[in-house]
Symmetry: C2
Subunit: 249 residues, 2 copies
């Protein structure tokens, strides 16, 4: 384990054996996406992550990592699980695959990892690789390659948490652009839940709940009849979530 | 921070700066209860907790602590949050209050704590203090004293998690005795949610869901008309939870 990092001329002490991993969700073209890193000189992908400095809270560490990878300051962020098996993955395998990037001797101790998921407005993100990676890129959730370490499991658990929290957290507010159509919103729910929703029922329930307000604008540049745009009525949205009132979807 | 513990003649290495805290819920006489420890020679109470050994997973550490405090092997256990502020509580204060039990020098580093909650059948627990405490006892949730460290906050967060998971986890199966009356079950929901439930509506919904089966026995020794006993139809209960189908309560 690395116990110090240098930032500029300063040595920063780290919490030993503790890391964090971030599942960063975006929504674009009706598809749920996640941000992945490609390790230097390999075709191997993992979630973005990082270390915990002694002088920062877990949340602050996650905010720092997210800012480094996405350029964004204000991100909806949730801690969802801490991964703490004694052997989270096959260390020998990793030592070999990544020997050219990380000194194999540094893997001698287990690391416990705090899982965070983040929801970002896809259009506002500028993906940025870290010092261990060549590339930082969006992947469609349905095309995600096999991930390094136990990151496949971390992704699964993040998705599960996201699904559970769909009724209690302002997911739509964070994944959708400011103005969106009713089909945009429905596709977002479908992408997260991984199932089809009845559109008439959906629209009726959303409108009855009062969480969105219909604008006078329509979406341009789409085929067929131009659909109306909506935006969230934030105060009402948060009230409804507090009561678990979106559970019907 | 303590970096080793002795168990018999063996020295066991610990994960540095990492601990766990357990909120152990029981249900008895219509009241939600939690298990607390009284620190040696004080009137100060805290949640049970412990260290993480290098050779055990987080879950194994939690199971060990729970067995030590309750005597129970099989416990419903959920990790719910990891507490990682830089200063979780006032260390100076704690150093003074507990100097006769823990060497004040041991508080020099921050500790990050993994929160677990557990649900136990109250009748089967034998509360057992640890080597730092005089007493291990059940407290009614409504009478819980001010807790040491940030344990008040940990308890709040555990309760919140328990409420959210009431519709997805087999809470009733773990908190109620094998056979229970409809009012017993309703009181359990009321105790967790902290609000009154309409009894006729509750009974109708529970019966319609098929998660319980009515027995031919009645509960004895109660005033008024003896109420019928029920037990869970486990398979159906778990199916309904999987669909989030108890959300109506």
């Amino acid at each position: 384990m690395i116990e110090k990092v240098s930032v500029g001329s300063e040595d920063i002490e780290l919490v030993p054996q503790l890391t964090l991993d971030c599942v960063i969700f975006g929504f674009h073209d009706n598809v749920l996406k996640i941000l992945l890193l490609k390790w230097k000189g390999t075709d191997l992908w993992s979630l973005p992550g990082g270390v915990i400095r002694q002088n920062e809270s877990l949340d602050e560490a996650a905010i720092r990592v997210l800012k480094e990878r996405t350029g964004m300051d204000k991100i909806f962020l949730r801690q969802f699980y801490t991964f703490g098996k004694v052997q989270r993955y096959d260390t020998n395998d990793i030592q070999k695959q990544l020997a050219h990037v990380i000194d194999p001797k540094l893997w001698y101790q287990r690391a416990i990892s705090i899982g965070y998921y983040a929801l970002v407005d896809y259009e506002e993100v500028f993906p940025n690789p870290d010092h261990l990676s060549d590339e930082c890129a969006w992947w469609d959730l349905s095309d995600v390659p096999q991930l390094l370490f136990d990151h496949g499991e971390i992704l699964e658990k993040a998705l599960h948490a996201l699904r559970l929290e769909l009724s209690f957290q302002p997911i739509g507010l964070n994944l959708l652009p400011e103005k969106f159509t009713m089909p945009d919103m429905m596709r977002m729910y479908e992408a997260i839940l991984g199932k089809k929703i009845d559109p008439r029922n959906f629209q009726k329930k959303i409108l009855n709940s009062g969480i969105v307000v219909k604008l006078k604008e329509v979406k341009k540049g789409v085929a067929h009849k131009s659909p109306f745009l909506y935006k969230f009525e934030e105060k009402r949205y948060k009230e409804v979530l507090k009561e678990g009132g979106l559970f019907f979807i």
